[in-house]
Symmetry: C2
Subunit: 440 residues, 2 copies
């Protein structure tokens, strides 16, 4: 019945290899330009977009009419010959010979996302369909590349992946932003905010480890940097100092950006990203202390005082002259979690480091060296009003072969937003979860 | 002060490259044999275990005494020369020249896991320390290899990673086994049991996709196959049939087992795994229908009747004669979820497939072809007493360019348990979560 059933089915990404040959491609109608005698259906299949050329005089009337009457996002399988065409996006076109319409989207219920402008709420409500657009493809491909690069980096640098639990009894960074889950028979557990405490145990077993999974913050923030559910990679190293942590963070960021530039340049172009800015992401990154950062902020007119945490505006001011990520270390103990190792020379500051992305994208990495002395750690738990009993297993790590160690967390969504040059993190993940958004 | 500070610090895995050279290695004391004149500290550093040789006559008295007095899991940095030694595990020894004791575990509070046998509850309570054992290292390394292989398989076969949400408003497979979370202001969400519905949306956008993350089941089962939190990879393909799904599942399993055999043979030996059994995991896998499976079970004395789901015993009987994973397809519609495509020739069965691992390890993969016709899907939702309104966005996928499609889910922990030959899934993940276990 179908005269083209014998020809190979290929993807649009493979078109080049089949130049001059007859092939079939299964996909969806992305767009259609037409006149009385010729039609140009744009076909997308997830691997790319190809323009097909349907000439009335070369096709049975029925076939040409079926093509002319196609509606946006109708599912179709086209057959024809691949031809190199410099002017076409991608460099190839298909001379259409036959078409199988799998489902024609009816005019009465047309595809809701049209080429006209839509409001963001409408698009987010139709996220399951919005994912079909060229821009969303580009972002998701960059995200995939970022995740692949991160895993590749750690896998080839001697780190063992140890997935840390999502259900946790204890809170790592305070309890106000935790999501609570009813476990069985009146037990309560919380959704993880960080795998760090578990990572520390794993690092004492395996030397260098990382975890990489979703983490959760019940923050009532409605900013362009916040999701309630986001992915984070967290490496941890035994026998490591703040210096090692900083070097690792720097190497990771350089590697990830490099991989995206190498493999996803086309996607960055779709996103109209200024690629030159990414090409400048090379080691060494500028490194300053919190104290120096405060001085810079004051000299630029900020009213921040020593002891206060940076706000978004401070981060933007600090990075406005920077072309590379900025590393800020040695924060006042009071604004950091209980487990940070104090600086032996300046015990009022701790050996933490934040990495701030350029262009106002804010903190993408936070980490540092952890306290390895048992007594000091117990003292700090108490000072933070945390019950040492709840951390008994964690304290075991200081009882049995404790060593200096450290690590960091890098948020995937902020990293992708920065690399893609996006205003808001909501587009960096397939189905974002925010304060007022749990669907689709 | 430290005469060996200038020598390179290496890991045990790198020892071979440094044969004949003086190096430093930082790690923990795994074991210590000693006599009056010689001591053999076994050092572990997460990359391996190396035997050190400390000769009294060759060392300052203080150094030799420090070594003799070491306690299990004390953290130490040893310096000495690497020497090839065929009889040593790993093939290398270190002639110890100096030692820095970072922390000596005191005799009064010795490391709780001793070489004697411990009960499983004790070990699980000390999971954060148990991870330091050779056996747990082997399992975690295999797990890492399995996860790497899975991602590598999909990444190099044209699949795009699309992380699906953990917070979901709708249930994929019934609501009785869902964990409920308090979202903001009286909203309730559930923890995902499968990314499939989102995967279907992503597949219509990108052709071939996969998600890979933690999933949750609030099952009150206390079996050796159940965790409340486990990791699952789920591929989904547009323009695909049950046959494509089966071929993909087969290729994935062969690839993953092959990678473990290639890169983790030593770990399999630590686990005393029968490697010959894994070497037989080659395509093609035997493929039978549910109907044939019922006949086999009956012929072997089971009282199962057509229409019933397999129990663990049935799965064991079905696979007892098999050396390869067994694929069973075309199940009665009544025991499968609403979204399975019916078999056009036998509408009483649906196009689902389960892959059962050999050696009684049970189902490692479940999947199939999904319904792509809108009216049929609505009908099935109603038949399953599910409100079509709640699935409105999911139904959109059948309104706008619907195509035949399918995919599956593969559970990482069951897969690792099978490949490692473990009796219970609890050892396949760093910090398992079970009915009565949420700590450490």
């Amino acid at each position: 019945m179908n005269p083209s059933a014998g020809v190979p089915r290929i993807t649009i990404a493979e078109a080049e290899r089949y130049t001059g040959q007859s092939v079939r491609i299964a996909g969806w109608l992305y767009n259609l330009r037409k006149s009385g005698k010729i039609a140009f259906p744009l076909l997308r299949d997830g691997t790319g977009i190809i323009q097909c050329v349907a000439v009335k005089s070369a096709l049975p009337e029925e076939t040409f009419n079926a093509i002319r009457n196609l509606t946006q996002e109708s599912s179709i399988i086209v057959s024809g010959k691949i031809r190199a065409e410099q002017r076409a996006p991608g460099g190839f076109e298909m001379d259409l010979e036959d078409i199988e319409v799998v489902q024609r989207v009816p005019e009465e219920h047309p595809y809701p996302i049209t080429p006209k402008e839509h409001g963001i709420e409408f698009l987010m409500d139709h996220r399951h369909l919005w994912l079909r657009s060229r821009r969303q493809h580009a972002i998701l491909k960059v995200r995939h590349e970022v995740i692949k690069a991160i895993r590749n980096f750690f896998d080839s640098n001697g780190f063992t992946l140890v997935d840390t639990p999502i259900f946790t009894p204890a809170a790592c960074e305070g309890t106000t932003t935790l999501f609570e889950v009813d476990y069985f028979e009146d037990e309560k557990v919380y959704l993880t905010q960080s795998g760090q405490l578990y990572n520390e145990a794993a690092a004492m077993a395996l030397g260098k480890v990382y975890c990489f999974g979703p983490t959760f913050r019940a923050e009532k923030s409605k900013t362009r940097r916040h999701l309630t559910e986001f992915w984070m990679v967290e490496p941890e190293m035994a026998y490591a100092t703040l210096e090692d942590v900083k070097n690792l963070a720097e190497a990771l960021v350089v590697f990830v950006v490099g991989r995206v530039l190498e493999n996803r340049r086309q996607e960055l172009e779709v996103l109209e990203r200024d690629i030159a800015k990414l090409e400048r992401i090379q080691a060494p990154f500028p490194r300053i202390s919190y104290g120096q950062a405060i001085d810079i902020l004051k000299s630029k007119g900020s009213e921040i005082e020593w002891g206060a945490d940076f706000g978004n505006t401070d981060e933007t001011i600090l990075t406005e002259d920077q072309q590379r990520p900025l590393m800020v270390d040695r924060f006042p103990a009071g604004i950091k979690a209980f487990y940070f190792e104090p600086d032996s020379e300046h015990p009022e500051v701790v050996l933490g480091v934040d990495v701030l992305a350029p262009e106002g994208y804010g903190e993408i990495i936070g980490g540092g060296q952890r306290i390895h002395n048992l007594d000091l750690l117990v003292e700090r738990l108490k000072a933070h009003n945390l019950p040492p009993e709840a951390f008994d297993w964690y304290l075991d790590l200081r009882r049995y072969g404790t060593v200096p160690h450290g690590g960091f967390g890098m948020g995937v969504e902020r990293c992708v937003a920065w690399i893609c040059g996006l205003e808001h993190v909501r587009e960096t993940i397939g189905f974002p979860r925010m304060l007022y958004r749990t669907r689709p």
